[in-house]
Symmetry: C4
Subunit: 126 residues, 4 copies
């Protein structure tokens, strides 16, 4: 059961609203890539961000340890550059070991927050 | 990594509410097809819309440049015809190069908006 | 391009809330299976409903004409029996021609509605 | 039609908010794995939970009878340990017979609830 998942994933729909009615960490507007590494080897993950009108930015580097999950907020990425707010982007995720990726956004621009989620696209190079 | 994605995608659930509590561009009710073209070649995209009680309309033409994302609002399509509001439709997307497509709707008919999203269906001709 | 999609689909998560703050057709709590038939042949669709504590009910019969979409509300099914409200169910969808299916719920038990959506599971018999 | 689905599924995005504005069973904040077993054999299901900073917990055991659905709330799991609230987790689901799994969350921390849903990732061991 060590090798569940895939090594390349894509999330075409990225957008972090700049506004939030709450400053609480759990309720601030955010976008996350949630990883599951059910395997026995740590996964080194490279994330590249794509935009509508500028060159891609990245790679960002994160690690998903073996037998762990990581709920990574795009809000928290800073190196090589923070993710611009109120800006359409997409992300390509490449991992050194198989993982599974789910995309979630919590939008709290309004007092009543909204949620969306989907399993990301497991991109198999053709 | 140039050829990630697929060339035919389908979104069965299309519906643009005519109403919105806000006129702000980011908060008006809208439906989007979000594209990621992580490859080295621009993708020419043809979109055909299907309805419940009339002939299909299209193709609509958009371009997703190499190494770019495009968050296309169906609201903005106008040629050959605007997308009718408050009307059930579906869309078939054909691209000249592999892309990944995610479907998102923001519904702001009410003061508290709602969101939905899913990776579109990668349709492989049989 | 006539044969896009698959002929067997599953939606494990079914639930129609009995309550709605609005009686308007577009805002009443409902659950839909949205079909796209991009092919040249009408699709005869059989739907079977599964429950937690009783025998399956069905088949329900609907037709998705060639080159059309159908946004079918489970609320509207009546033969052989209406879908019980406030009850967990699941659905299995079998079509005579390839279609694509997306699952959507609009929950308006509260003044601020909520939405969810996902492409259904394309079940390939094993 | 007895063998629809797959035997290994993953849900990377798990999170049960501790707060709810309502104590009603249907409106309390909860997270569910919805199963469909359309086959002729009961499915014995093992669930393992993964965390960001501790060892995996499990397996949890549930049964999905033949020809039935089960909408399992992670809130209700107790053996070997309850699922911690306000904590990021992920789940790996292994079944003795093919099933289909859909992930749903209802978040009612605020008066206006939010919903998300996606078909889980059908993990094929590599």
């Amino acid at each position: 059961m060590q090798h569940i998942g895939q090594t390349v994933w894509a999330i075409p729909e990225g957008y972090i609203p700049s506004g939030s009615v709450s400053d609480a960490h759990d309720l601030v507007s955010h976008e996350a890539a949630c990883f599951l590494n059910a395997g026995d080897h740590d996964a080194d993950v490279r994330i590249t961000l794509y935009f509508e009108d500028r060159e891609p930015v990245g790679p960002y580097h994160v690690k998903v340890p073996a037998q762990r999950t990581l709920h990574l907020r795009f809000n928290d990425l800073s190196d090589p550059a923070p993710v611009p707010r109120d800006t359409s982007y997409a992300s390509l995720i490449e991992a050194s070991a198989p993982v599974i990726v789910q995309h979630t956004r919590l939008d709290s621009r309004q007092p009543a927050m909204a949620l969306l989620s989907t399993i990301a696209y497991p991109a198999v190079p053709q």
